[in-house]
């Protein structure tokens, strides 16, 4: 999901696509499951496809992952 072939950059990835709103809605769970080692590419194909095809959402996903790795679940 980090390396993009030319075709993906230009034409996006084939298959179901959650769109920006749909992907952002599922991204918290997607990120937690990805960090837990689950195969999110299969479990959330529409989100994974979107992240490959949408540069803004992909960058936000990496930011969310990094926050989770750094701060964990937070505390209160």
């Amino acid at each position: 999901m980090t390396e993009q072939p030319d075709g993906d950059r230009l034409l996006g990835r084939l298959g179901p696509d959650a769109g920006c709103e749909g992907a952002l809605l599922l991204l918290p769970r997607f990120a937690e499951d990805a960090l837990a080692g689950e195969d999110v590419e299969v479990a959330y194909a529409a989100v994974a496809n979107h992240l490959t095809s949408c540069p803004d959402c992909r960058e936000d996903y990496h930011g969310l992952l990094d926050s989770l790795k750094t701060f964990g679940s937070g505390s209160r």
Binding site: P16, A18, G19, C20, A46, D56
Partner: protein
């Protein structure tokens, strides 16, 4: 595009499955008085910490003028994220931890602010097609010729197959690497709406290539 998600409120069953920390956040934010004020203050601090972290992560790729404004931008992002979270608290479905859900709001806010600030004042030059910036990641003369043929066909299709708006969006995002958030601001719409135009443009281009046996098949989704 397929989108099988909805923002349904937390059901009683879902609420009972929440982890204790998320339950604590929801209870505190859903109450009135000092407990809520304390939770809001605590959440703002958490959001500001995450906003600063995200801004630092991106700072190597930002112009110096933007880096100089990071403290203001991150504070604005934390403020806006807190407002969005409190407004949408009823939409938290418990699919993730509450803090993960909250981090997403602030990451999206920081991202949009940094992108827009970095591109402020820049001409998007919607008609200029930067085909030479498309990297050729495949090695070998055979693949290079194939890439050149593909790009030439794509270039023709962009001119002949797309509507004016589809062409502007495709050229800006896919070729010139303008962030969707920036284009959305200039076109006074949302990231999602810009992405939909891009998606439809890509679909047309794939179909055009497939008709010429260029190796891309047409998407099946509507």
């Amino acid at each position: 595009m397929e989108c099988a998600v909805s923002a349904t409120p937390l059901s009683v069953t879902q609420a009972s499955l929440l982890d204790p920390m998320s339950r604590g956040w929801l209870d505190a934010l859903g109450t009135e008085g000092p407990a809520r004020e304390a939770a809001l203050s605590e959440l703002h601090a958490l959001l500001l910490r995450a906003a600063r972290h995200e801004a630092r992560r991106r700072s190597p790729s930002l112009p110096e003028t933007v880096v100089a404004d990071l403290e203001d931008l991150t504070l604005q992002a934390a403020d806006d994220a807190l407002l969005a979270i409190t407004a949408k608290l009823g939409q938290f479905r418990g699919d993730s931890r509450f803090t993960t859900w909250a981090y997403m709001f602030v990451v999206v806010e920081v991202s949009a602010k940094l992108r827009r600030r970095a591109w402020r004042g820049q001409d998007l030059n919607l008609d200029a097609e930067e085909w030479e910036r498309v990297p050729d990641s495949r090695a070998g003369p055979g693949h290079r010729a194939e890439s050149l043929e593909l790009l030439a066909t794509l270039k023709t299709a962009v001119a002949s197959e797309l509507t004016e708006r589809q062409r502007e969006v495709f050229v800006s995002v896919a070729l010139n690497e303008v962030p969707l958030d920036v284009l959305a601001e200039r076109m006074q719409t949302t990231r999602g709406a810009i992405y939909k135009v891009l998606h439809d443009a890509r679909k047309k281009l794939r179909a055009h290539l497939a008709e010429r046996g260029m190796g891309f098949s047409q998407e099946e989704d509507a």
